[in-house]
Symmetry: D2
Amino acid sequence: MFSRCVGWDALNALSIITYEIDQKHKTEHRKHFIEFLKHVQSKDLTCAGAMTDVKGDRSLRPSEQADPDLYVHVVEKRDDGIIVRGAKVHITGVVHSHEIIVMPTRALTEKDKDYAVSFAVPTDAEGITLIVGRQMGDLRKLRGEYFDLGNFKYGAAGHEALVIFDNVFVPWNRVFMCGEYEFAGQLVETFASYHRQSYGGCKVGLGDVLIGAAALAAKYNGVLKASHIRSKLVDMVYLNETLHACGLACSYEGFKTSSGTFRVERALKRVQNYGIIFICF
Amino acid sequence: MFSRCVGWDALNALSIITYEIDQKHKTEHRKHFIEFLKHVQSKDLTCAGAMTDVKGDRSLRPSEQADPDLYVHVVEKRDDGIIVRGAKVHITGVVHSHEIIVMPTRALTEKDKDYAVSFAVPTDAEGITLIVGRQMGDLRKLRGEYFDLGNFKYGAAGHEALVIFDNVFVPWNRVFMCGEYEFAGQLVETFASYHRQSYGGCKVGLGDVLIGAAALAAKYNGVLKASHIRSKLVDMVYLNETLHACGLACSYEGFKTSSGTFRVERALKRVQNYGIIFICF
Amino acid sequence: MFSRCVGWDALNALSIITYEIDQKHKTEHRKHFIEFLKHVQSKDLTCAGAMTDVKGDRSLRPSEQADPDLYVHVVEKRDDGIIVRGAKVHITGVVHSHEIIVMPTRALTEKDKDYAVSFAVPTDAEGITLIVGRQMGDLRKLRGEYFDLGNFKYGAAGHEALVIFDNVFVPWNRVFMCGEYEFAGQLVETFASYHRQSYGGCKVGLGDVLIGAAALAAKYNGVLKASHIRSKLVDMVYLNETLHACGLACSYEGFKTSSGTFRVERALKRVQNYGIIFICF
Amino acid sequence: MFSRCVGWDALNALSIITYEIDQKHKTEHRKHFIEFLKHVQSKDLTCAGAMTDVKGDRSLRPSEQADPDLYVHVVEKRDDGIIVRGAKVHITGVVHSHEIIVMPTRALTEKDKDYAVSFAVPTDAEGITLIVGRQMGDLRKLRGEYFDLGNFKYGAAGHEALVIFDNVFVPWNRVFMCGEYEFAGQLVETFASYHRQSYGGCKVGLGDVLIGAAALAAKYNGVLKASHIRSKLVDMVYLNETLHACGLACSYEGFKTSSGTFRVERALKRVQNYGIIFICF
């Protein structure tokens, strides 16, 4: 369940942006997106959302990097589709997702046109390699140990991976952006807005568990009534409820876009983003 | 306009609590409250809300204080009404309000029964003395000076006063709580919930003005593009929008009480309270 | 007493920098400085230190400003001395000082050469105007009121003034820097180092009084044993003792400069500067 | 080297407290301590300092716990020495130390008399079991992996262990406190003062490495000139230099105790303690 949120946010964002690109460029991105969406929904597939590139020198744009592959980009356009190359990093849950939805990671200029690319590929497509990040104690389960395994049944649930795209082929009906660089920033922001909104539920639920665990640990140590402990628990509750309030507010203030899809209110989104700094990891 | 918010919050809270007291004690508080509300609405009166007592030793309850007048209390019950005594402090805008709505300032026990009193009196009722708090530069206007006067037309707008009740008579039809100590804490919390909710609009508007003024001062000094200045302005926006989000969330999640009056959601209220610490003054 | 610290810091800093300027430029600044120092010491004079210019557009250098008088500068060099023009702002205690010691407020380039000027003038020299800043309640004493006067005997002790230099003449034997722009930054930093060091005593003493007053107010309100109050008092003590420790450390690590004057250790000075942000006003 | 600091601090503290106990109780603790000190110095032994007990219910004193072994205590006094029982937790570097110096972990009352015990034992004494705490990636070295091993040569250098004392015998000439409960608090505070002082060197050196590593990472990412990055690095420097200043100040202000041993100034010590919260782990 955990990993589906990023994919959902990607689907929502693409539903809006493909429409807007089509309006301007007379492309067929939204038609392809809707086909893909039906595929996902009818088979109940899990999608990983892949946005963050490895980036290289942060003071340079994608097209200015010493190595052209530091951001995912189109290396060839063919009649039947495109060939992409690069890598996306810290991709949560991609190991157990059926599909990867790729999006640009920043606003782009005309010179970065080849980097303005969004598409979906099956996780096991040819040319894709996943390098899973190490986690604390991740070898314990393999050794048959029985505690501090993270999630009891599945081990450390939050696997993140570096996803390498080594000349991966993507057919046109799975391409949602290809060269329309002026929409890249908007796609990032729209995706991020949904992603922060969903934190108002997801991370707050996680926060509730953390607060409860902290309170229980305090109780076991005989310090639950100590005022400096209560003060810290209260601060955790404040922060958690503030996140929840921001999630609710940006949802209630949501509006229907011209694509027909509803999106969350933006300004409040940025605020929520801020609270996230404290609780996210 | 500024001073009306406290009165509004008091009216909303009493609308709920008088109903609940009547349900339990078969009193007529709500009937009296509704009469008073009609009086206020039909004549468009401004009401000050008076909650904070002078308190004395904070480690003791009202009935335990060396001086019985450190919290407002009933000193005599007569056929036609009650006589009250004590003082409320930091009462915003009372100088230019028609009516004062008095409420207890904390949860009370049976021993504090005489302190469980809520009522409305005209500001110029016999026995009431207002001692207005000094403010920075408050003598300037009197000397005919022309700048740094606060509000240009009215001087420092936010007058606060110490309101002394020296055996003030209140007729029964203006008494909304009298001895029902177990509802005191609930009245305080209900009032405070509305009062924090309204901050999600009022203080955020004030915050917008402060942020704009700060940005303008930065521009005049040629430092608006300095990153440490921008960073501070962004922090101000974050805090302000968070307050706004909390105000919206607790309102959207509001619910109809058995009295028929809607009230804001409580948990989220407490959160907003927290943000207020930073911006209120 | 209060106002003397800035003057002391200026004397210490000039004692070092005039020596270094003389070494490089074969000037006689240090001789003039020593004469002035003897004058001050033999007559026990109070000196105000004047560093902060009004500055105008902070993104521009002194010589780039629309108005050349936004930083104090030399407008004429004569046989007997120099004519200076400009204004220094927020000059503490200048109203009750015998002499004003003027220094540049920032590092300077060759184009700002005329702004590289340091000198001493009597506070009542021709062409000097002091505009004293208003303070809270500063009219009360004049009205014969008897409380909230600040210092009981002298009223608000910390007068600050805008000091305007309207073509003020300064004889050569009171000029300590005149055009040696490359020493301006060093003078500012040396002055500031002493000034922060002295805070390790002065502001910490003030902090002790504030902490004691806060504790006393808590005691009077019956909340001295409340843990959230104690926690705040402890934080105040921590901050205050940290300042004291930084003042001690930079003094113990002080070293003899080639001028013969000892100066405080620099790196630790910057640290102390940081703590000051919290306690200074 | 790393692990020796705790032992040094224990030696310094015991040098003072054993003298003071002897003065009051005519005991021979200091003589025994000096013998032990000569043994350590002549053979260049590494000593672990063991203070923190497992504690159980923090709201109860040692003698009030359900399990008497939650704090290390004397279970038997014999002609040749004492038998001790309990466990000390989070004992840094004990795995590679020759000796363990045990001290009480809190102030004690007469009822906790049996818990007022300090002594030294070889790490491999009969009845001692070390349970080493797991660390992130601690199995990697065993699998022959070659990166993210922590210290390249020794792996994760900071081993901490739970040290169980299961009826360990300690001869009288290695006992430094036995029943003198009124000195327990003083021993803890004296030890802690030295321990925080040494952080003014040790942790600041570590801080320098961390700051350098952070700056290098920023440089590799092309963001070293980004103002928000510089601002964070500057904050790290401030904190680190403040710690250093506090370490210097409490050392310079150190004084000779009646035992002949110098100790650091206390008030400033508490301050340093505060800074440590931010950097220690």
